[in-house]
């Protein structure tokens, strides 16, 4: 499906991205007594981005737990509870604060199963509001997907639509291993079709959002929407871009990406995290090592975040991450082989 395009059907149910996540958490709390939500100000405040909303009224403060401002401890309690039989979903108020909890996520949760020779399981979900564009400056705007993607033992997903946000969260919850879900703050208000009831979206599978023969654009989170907008403009010039929504950073869906590049012969990676040593490096290397290499008609290009913290000034902030015209220009250069 082509999620971001408006659905013509009047009876198709639309929810915002945050409503879709809330619905998933509500279903999980209803269905499974072991599920608890933990995080800062997720109760009566409804969460900093109003994602948990009224869940505390529906399920009570024992299951929608406000923690003190203690990320390392809070994440660790979630890990310990997951290890011993609960199914915690831990919300970081901003993904930036996961930096305070790296120990428990990276040294404990990610490795527990392995270190104990498969005898233990840590089915915890970490929810991470991420990304720039809100004027919140350097410590509230980062994109850490690649950091966590670098850790064997973790799964890392990045939904770009309300439908996937719900489906990936439910898949994360069913998963016996720790899953980190990045939610782009600028997507929370975005509306789209969301199926009713319980369903899961497969972790590790990308989605082709637009078919095209000239250039493959692999994008993640908000960049999917920017890439789709760029593709519409390029179509006017006769350049047909194929847009792949990455959806999962670890595991990464090599099959879909390699298949697309074999067809188009051109690859552009677009992501918000810092460009160097990021998602684009992994995808580029994957292509270089694959059978798609022989089909390349142009060098691979990466568009990523600037080599700088996210600045406060709104014009600088915009310039720090790929925007629609940047994607358009890069894809055009690739298609015309001006690289």
């Amino acid at each position: 499906m082509n999620a971001p395009a408006k659905q013509p059907d009047a009876d198709i149910r639309e929810l915002s991205y945050s409503e879709a996540i809330r619905e998933a958490m509500g279903l999980a709390l209803e269905r499974d007594e072991r599920v608890v939500l933990m995080g800062e100000d997720i109760g009566v405040y409804g969460g900093a981005f109003q994602v948990t909303g009224d869940l505390v009224e529906r399920f009570g403060a024992d299951r929608v737990m406000d923690t003190p401002i203690s990320e390392l401890g809070g994440a660790g309690v979630a890990v310990g509870a997951a290890l011993t039989g609960l199914r915690p979903i831990y919300e970081f108020q901003f993904s930036d604060f996961a930096a305070l909890a790296m120990e428990q996520i990276v040294n404990q949760a990610a490795k527990m199963r392995y270190m104990l020779g498969g005898e233990a399981s840590v089915p915890v979900v970490f929810r991470m509001p991420a990304g720039s564009g809100t004027g919140a400056a350097a410590q509230h705007s980062q994109s850490f997907e690649a950091w966590f993607g670098h850790v064997p033992g973790l799964k890392v997903v990045q939904p770009s639509t309300p439908e996937d946000a719900k489906g990936l969260l439910l898949a994360a919850l069913e998963d016996p291993d720790p899953v980190v879900m990045f939610e782009h703050k600028l997507l929370y208000k975005m509306k789209g079709h969301v199926p009713e009831g319980w369903y899961t979206t497969q972790i590790g599978k990308s989605a082709i959002r637009r078919h095209g023969k000239d250039v493959t654009i692999v994008a993640s989170a908000i960049m999917v929407h920017r890439a789709l907008a760029a593709a519409e403009k390029l179509a006017g010039e006769g350049i047909e871009a194929e847009i792949i929504d990455l959806r999962s950073v670890r595991p990464i869906d090599g099959e879909t990406i390699i298949g697309s590049v074999r067809k188009t012969g051109r690859l552009l990676c677009v992501y918000e995290g810092v460009r160097t040593l990021g998602i684009g490096a992994e995808i580029s290397a994957m292509i270089a090592e694959s059978e798609a290499f022989d089909f390349l008609d142009a060098p691979v290009l990466r568009l990523g975040g600037a080599e700088a913290p996210i600045p406060y000034n709104p014009d600088l902030e915009k310039a720090a991450v790929p925007q629609i015209p940047d994607i358009e220009a890069a894809a055009r250069r690739l298609a015309r082989r001006e690289v």
């Binding site: 900093a48 400056a137 350097a138």
Partner: protein, 333 residues
């Protein structure tokens, strides 16, 4: 022992300093009202955390400091910045994202700083400043500068691991640090009753073998007296202290707060204990200035804020090619 029953501040400071303290409290109030208004008009983006109602804590805590002394501040840091001597024009310029701003438009409200005056900066990370202040204390001790570091943090921050680690190190190394917890009853929506095992945060001082004091943070004199004593202790090489200033933020946590966790009655009760009015009354009562002089202080502060906004509006926008400037020293030129 004297039988001078006047409040500490009146005994300790001369009229000029007291007048300047009142001026700074007004500056903080009007600066934040101006920032709020500019935000409503769309001149400032992002978010901001206002300290209206907490002005006495910021200004009184800094009375015993020189420009050589350091402070670390918080996301609610405009008051600390002004108390440590920053100019409101350059602060507004920062909020407006201009090159003339204290952080050249890169930091905004949450990172406001004035390093030349010893303010090492507000912080976007709750508890982020605590170990940094201990580091400043270590520098002062090793280099024998005689300086102290004052570390401001909120009640919410005292549940971060960084708080506990920082206090312990300051204590074992006897560093010249004064930890000042501005307890305004809530960390965002979570009351201290729900988040914190002890009733008073100052009780935690016991665990780190340092003196702990809980004071009325809206009482200028009480804060000044307690902090001055802790500063003297730190300068004398006797180590750190933990002081808890009980106060209240009148506004919501940030621009998106709907105040669903506290009552209107509670807010009204605290607004009736305005620290600025209280200090002003004290100054008039003790004949430091009369009503018309006090009014003049307020008016001048208001004018300073208005001029600051005009200065900021006429500032220069950063150039896009300078996006990565200041990431490393070599790009700092």
């Amino acid at each position: 022992m004297t039988d001078d029953n006047r409040p500490f501040a009146i005994r300790k400071y001369d009229a000029a300093r007291l007048r300047d303290a009142l001026r700074k409290m007004y500056l903080i109030r009007f600066f934040e009202e101006g920032a709020e208004d500019s935000y409503m008009r769309g001149l400032i983006h992002g978010t901001m955390h206002l300290s209206i109602g907490q002005e006495a804590s910021a200004v009184a805590s800094c009375m015993g400091l020189t420009d050589e002394d350091k402070i670390t501040s918080t996301h609610r840091g405009h008051g600390h910045c002004i108390a440590k001597g920053a100019e409101v024009g350059r602060m507004f310029a920062e909020f407006f994202g201009k090159e003339e701003g204290y952080c050249h438009g890169r930091g905004g409200s949450m990172h406001i700083a004035d390093v030349t005056k010893g303010n090492l900066g507000a912080n976007g990370i709750v508890g982020g400043g605590l170990p940094i202040a201990v580091g400043a204390g270590l520098t002062a001790k090793r280099l024998n500068t005689g300086a102290v570091a004052i570390c401001f943090f909120g009640d919410g921050a005292n549940n971060e691991g960084a708080f506990h680690e920082a206090l312990n190190m300051a204590a074992i190394w006897k560093l010249p640090v004064v930890f000042i917890c501005e307890n305004n009853k809530y960390g965002m929506s979570t009351s201290t009753e729900r988040s914190t095992a002890v009733k008073n945060i100052a009780e935690r001082a016991v665990a780190y073998a340092m003196p702990g004091h809980t004071v009325d943070g809206n009482d200028f004199s009480a804060v000044a007296e307690t902090v001055e004593a802790a500063i003297a202790r730190a300068r004398a090489g006797e180590g750190p202290s933990l002081i808890e200033n009980l106060t209240y933020r009148w506004r919501g946590h940030s621009k998106s707060d709907r105040n669903r966790y506290r009552s209107k009655q509670e807010i009204d009760e605290w607004m009736a204990r305005d620290p600025i009015q209280r200090f002003r009354k004290e100054l008039v009562e003790h004949a430091i200035l009369d009503e018309s002089e006090a009014e003049k202080v307020a008016t001048e502060a208001r004018q300073e804020v208005e001029a600051g906004i005009e200065f900021a509006k006429s500032g220069t926008a950063p150039r896009i090619p300078d996006l990565a400037r200041y990431v490393y020293a070599e790009e700092n030129a």
